[in-house]
């Protein structure tokens, strides 16, 4: 397993610059479409609201080729929030297993990154990496939408070698 990358959301890029880079990378790597499944593994709803905000009119990530899809079977990436509670662990594993490979797991928020304030609870796993293989961590309580965009960009860098390794070829008729 590759070493997870701790992401410091210190980018000085404006949201528009980030969005442009993200869009270009998605176009190159994933033929203009990054499909994401959100997985709430026991968060307080803060991180989830920020992910929802990305879909709203202000950030509007659909313009970049990104969509939140209804099923993990259609997803290239899981955005996981929460520290993985006991009552969601099975559902979290099942969601991951349903995602086709190569796929990415991104831990969103302090709880997902390492348990956060819930450290020591009898009914949480203490972070997503104790249950699923995490590729990128986006810290914050919750991370701001800008940090989420930066996190998506970093995560895509990890997909590049994996696509090459998997030797995936996709035949799509060029316009």
């Amino acid at each position: 397993m590759s070493v997870p990358l701790l992401l410091e959301p210190r980018t000085r890029d404006t949201t528009d610059a980030l969005a442009a880079r993200l869009s270009a990378r998605i176009a190159r790597l994933l033929r203009r479409s990054l499909h994401i499944r959100h997985l709430d593994a026991g968060s307080c709803n803060g991180c989830d609201w920020e992910i929802q905000t990305l879909l709203g009119p202000v950030y509007d990530i659909q313009r970049l080729g990104i969509d939140i899809v209804a099923s993990p079977r259609h997803a290239d990436m899981l955005l996981v929030t929460g520290s993985v509670t006991r009552n969601l662990e099975r559902a979290a594993r099942a969601t991951y297993e349903a995602m086709p490979q190569p796929g990415l797991v991104v831990a969103v928020g302090a709880c997902a990154c390492g348990g956060g304030v819930l450290h020591g609870s009898y009914c949480t796993a203490g972070g997503v990496n104790n249950v699923l293989p995490v590729d990128v961590y986006i810290p914050g309580c919750p991370p701001r939408p800008h940090a989420l965009l930066h996190g998506l960009l970093v995560a895509l860098d990890r997909l590049d070698p994996r696509i090459a390794a998997a030797n995936v070829t996709v035949d799509v008729p060029q316009p």
Binding site: C44, P57, V58, V117, T124, P142
Partner: protein
Amino acid sequence: MSHAIDGHHDGELERRMSNETRFAVAPDTLPNACLAVVEHLNARLALMVGEDERASSGMFRLSYTFAVAQGQWLTLETLIDPAEPAFPSVTPLVPAAHWYEREVQDMFGLTAVGHPDPRRLVHHDDWPDGLHPLRKDFDPSLPVPRVDRPAETFHTLHGEGFVEIPVGPIHAGVIEPGHFRFAAVGEAVFDLQPRLFYTHRGIEKLAEGKTPAQVLQLAERVCGACSCSHGVSYSQAVETLAGIEVPPRAAAVRTLYLELERLYNHLGDLGNICAGVSFAAGASFGAQLKEAVQRLNERVAGNRFLHGVNQIGGVRRDPSASDLHDIAATTTHIATEFRSFIEMMLSSDTVLERLKTTGFLPAATARALGAVGVAARASGVDVDSRRDHPHAGYPALPMPTPVVVRSEGDVYARVLVRSDEILATLAMIRAVLDTLPDGPAAVSPGRVPGGRAAFAVSESPRGENIHFVRTAPDGTIERYRVRSASYPNWPAVAACVPGNMVPDFPVINKSFELCYACLDR
């Protein structure tokens, strides 16, 4: 007040808060005593706390707290012998007790004898029997095995044409996890059973042994979307217990933040209701206005969700003059935008067609379940803790809290309550800004005294949030109980869906806008 329960109690207990009367009750007389309070005092069951006091008194304690009159609480307390860990269920006489008693069964192993629905609530099927996390002898550091037990969560319906539709816990949209099982005949929902507590994080157990200041961090993270209200409720409980009065400026700033929280939530909720009926323009409008308030939150308080604004003894983020100017300018702009938004939303026949008569919650059901907040007010129940249990800076405002009550009880009524409350909130923000007193924004709480208990309330966008705190002799937290507004309201959602069609469930759910994290803790 005591005449209402004469003959049902064993004497009045010493007061722990000036606005609460407490009575000792024997377990056998508990159900009738609770019924007498509800019937004779027109009271609402607001909180039930279980406590493990075997180390001190040798007993378990159950405290049923009722909201009885303007600003007043009445609590009936009973002690249960660990040799016989059971008590007569209050639920057959006072239905609002149903979830509290199921939770006490799960968390303390005290059996509610005669409970009409004694299934598990917090624990799911694979939790071992006989393991109760809030007992003091439960060691949270030991792993809890998963066991193969018979599933008890759902009843099934049989009959020609019945279709069972399982939904969740992982949903198609970006929402919290919960499982809903619909029994439908064609498109009509006949029965809805929710299974919740997927996001149960053990927050109440985690709080035990921590200092009051440390637990504030947990309180703010019970729910991301009403973080400020949870922080205020918790801080006030500790302040009451310690006998601290926060400075007038701190109280007013808390009101300011609570109203900003209501503003961004209500705007987002109206947008989400538009999304629930596929009215994309309205959904975008709501999301845009919510974002504008969250950005204001960040500029003023340093966090888009108002995390970290409170401290015990006051507020950590005292807004500067330029912050206050920013709030005034931004909310003035939002007021104008909001008027065009709501006018657009409510002039669309396709929207109104979906909202009217959908998800009808009768007033009697809302009362029986002890519903609070927007859901209760839209069903004709006149309850708002900003007025009923004055807290933060509300009593000092030059205007009384405008309580919006409607009688229709449908999704449309819940939209109109939110819409009118947004206008009221904008007026209250303006009133706080106009009358904000100078002075310190916090006092030092000093050493929080040990061996005391108190609870406090604040009105979140979803309704009344109550936090109960008891300190151990050394001043750390001995017992922490969070009863969020979503707790009494979730059963109301399940009650009002049957009779509607399956595709209306999302908009009904969004019109209540309950929080799973708040409930599950």
